[in-house]
């Protein structure tokens, strides 16, 4: 409905503006692409959810995320882009899930990615959560924490235990550590076929918490001799150190080694963002570092780092919690109401004069409507004031400004042009 839409657009606008402030450029890829392109990499659940159909002889699908279209785009326009390529995209994606409250089959994703040519410095892995930090401070949804980890750490640990092939399973189990007892954790790891020595190490790993420096210290203290493990710790150290040096308070971020995000896709740093007072929403902004964006479309190696916000679901949830609909902004700041047909031209001129002064103005030129009905319209539109133009006002070159005060009473003032602008500045800003 229009009121919700205004709030949705406001939030979307903040996201877009923040992305732009950081020098990201918009791209707008098709919603429909050839299935062979869109599904080159997909499989399993993803492929089952895709909207796929034929038009003529062409096998088409609707995009199910903005990452695959980005890969296709970068591969196609490789020679015309400048790297590191910073792009944002805000658009609808489609997944044929069974629709339920807060899950949509058509929903907005708001993505940024920085894609390098052959290489991309680790510092970008710190800039991305810094952008999350600036964005969520501005969105003002309450306290939040950006959880950071690095996939190489567990990957290296599993390699050192000769269990690399079980990394995904183990990550899934460790991800549950806050929801189950440590006995249950051991049971699950045992069921996974692990020996007690390995289980002991992994349970110890899963139990590492503390400040960034503490976690990094404890990881180093594990004395694991594996290159990947060491590299993961080093990268995580650079990222968290850089975030602190850029002024991100540790109240807003921390290391969480259990992040299971993007089991296969991400290869290094990973992020999740939790609204502290609403953990049931899960991560509201997630992403990470990947080794190669577009291996299905080009031989050119394209490492990158990015994040995505599932805006439709987030908005629905926040709206449910009453966290977004407070602004009461209407589609019009002011409604100009001519009293009779003879006042319409004057009302239209007044409308344009107010627009020229920066206000959103709707002129209610419906003739023959009862005055009471006209004011019901003004109220329903959430306009902050009405300017009424009757014969007297028109003759005198004045404006009757009418608005509802907080206590429900009506305030009426007859004003000159200059006074009206002054008054509106006070009311509407």
């Amino acid at each position: 409905l229009p009121g919700d839409q205004i709030e949705f657009d406001r939030i979307r606008g903040i996201i877009e503006e923040t992305y732009r402030q950081f020098g990201f450029g918009n791209i707008d890829t098709p919603v429909i692409e050839r299935s062979e392109v869109l599904l080159a990499k997909a499989g399993g659940e993803t492929e089952r959810q895709v909207y796929r159909f034929n038009k003529g002889d062409t096998d088409l699908s609707l995009r199910f995320d903005l990452t695959v279209p980005l890969a296709r785009y970068v591969a196609e326009h490789f020679n015309e882009l400048s790297f590191p390529f910073r792009r944002y995209q805000i658009g609808k994606v489609y997944r044929g899930e069974s629709a339920q409250k807060g899950r949509y089959r058509e929903f907005y994703q708001c993505d940024i990615d920085i894609v390098g040519k052959d290489k991309l410095g680790i510092y970008y892995d710190a800039e991305v959560p810094y952008i999350i930090y600036r964005l969520f401070r501005r969105l003002d949804f309450g306290r939040f924490v950006i959880r950071v980890s690095n996939r190489k750490i567990l990957g290296g640990l599993m390699e050192s235990l000769d269990l690399a092939d079980k990394t995904t399973e183990v990550l899934r189990i460790i991800d549950k550590k806050d929801k189950v007892s440590s006995d249950k954790l051991v049971d699950m790891l045992t069921a996974c076929g692990l020996e007690s020595k390995a289980i002991e190490i992994l349970v110890g790993f899963a139990g590492i918490v503390g400040s960034c420096n503490e976690v990094l210290g404890k990881l180093k203290g594990m004395n694991v001799t594996n290159e990947k493990f060491g590299q993961g710790i080093e990268e995580l150290g650079v990222v968290t150190d850089m975030m602190v040096r850029m002024g991100v308070d540790e109240r807003y971020f921390g290391i969480d080694l259990s992040i299971a995000r993007g089991l296969d896709y991400y290869t290094g740093t990973v992020y999740e963002t939790i609204l502290v007072d609403h953990p049931q929403l899960g991560s509201v902004c997630s992403g990470g570092r990947y080794d190669n964006l577009a291996s299905h479309y080009t031989d050119q190696r394209l490492p990158g780092v990015g994040i995505s916000i599932g805006l439709t679901r987030l908005f629905f949830k926040l709206n449910e919690l009453g966290l977004v609909s407070g602004s009461g902004v209407g589609a019009a700041d002011v409604v100009v109401v001519p009293l009779g047909a003879d006042n319409i031209v004057c009302a239209l001129e007044t409308g344009q004069w107010l627009r020229d002064n920066g206000y959103k103005v709707d002129v209610l030129i419906e003739d023959g409507t009862k005055i009471k009905e006209k004011f019901r319209y003004v109220a329903k539109k959430n306009a902050k004031a009405a300017i009424v133009i009757g014969d007297d006002e028109q003759k005198a070159g004045k404006y009757l400004l009418q608005r509802e005060l907080a206590d429900g009473s009506l305030e009426k003032k007859i004003l000159t042009k200059a006074q009206a602008i002054k008054e509106l500045k006070m009311i509407c800003g």
Copy 2:
């Protein structure tokens, strides 16, 4: 590509802002709807072009315009909306035409409509072309003319000739009057089965040109006794008179009785907008008055008036003519370039400081890239300036501002914080 996208977004932004200034609220309907809903009214060519498919047991289609979804939306939310309902919608629509230059299968439409409950005053028919006028003045694509007509005039004339069933055919023929000789016009009308008396009247009608007052006078002078005919003249008189009184110069609009737009859909006032220096583009903004928006979804009578801009095609054509890509605005105003790894934190801080001052800033934190390559990146990004941070600048708390001048030479200035902001204000605005 990113450069075109920036221009596209700029134009889209002007359209959206103008619609908002006039108190229109955004709605965002699904791209996918049930075929029975979307195709309730469609037929023939439209239905053939629709992207239609099954997902599970559901017969789905992609929207092919924004009007049908509006009708469904208003019918569904009738009790929650305030009327006259002013909505804008800017979104993609889908038509499976054979893709060719300037014709797209996926393209943006930018629509506004004002929908009344039971009735909608004629004055809204004047407000809509006034909005077109304000919008196209602002878009600055060169000279334009808004052509206005009223379907009731020809409709009434045909009724008076007892030829009401031939109205559509005759309108199609009259629409060609500027492209064929008057003999040819007579031939076509004869082939249509009309008698010479009727043909004489219609050729006379088709030949009516002049200022608004002249055309209205000549129409009255035809002495046709038909209620609809008279009503059409009266409405057209009110609309054009109101436009003049609102300050729209007759250089920007005129009556054109041959507008064939929306053969069946529109029932009163109709509009087309022509870029005078590029008539080959056809109408770039069209619309009109309709009697009943949503007869397929509700018994409630919903008369309305609206317009639509096919933005994707318009942009492509204007771009081809070199009319849109002149701004040279980049995704970043400034690129901050740290010279070494030790300068990265300082560069990131500088970036945020510049963002806080209102600039779009990209920090090129790619380490190990050659300096020459870094500046190639700055140039390719269309940034207006680079701020270089080396050890010397960092130590001195100064900023090396570097930019390419119009003659291709490089300007370098070492500046204090205050000087840098002053300089950037001059360069970037």
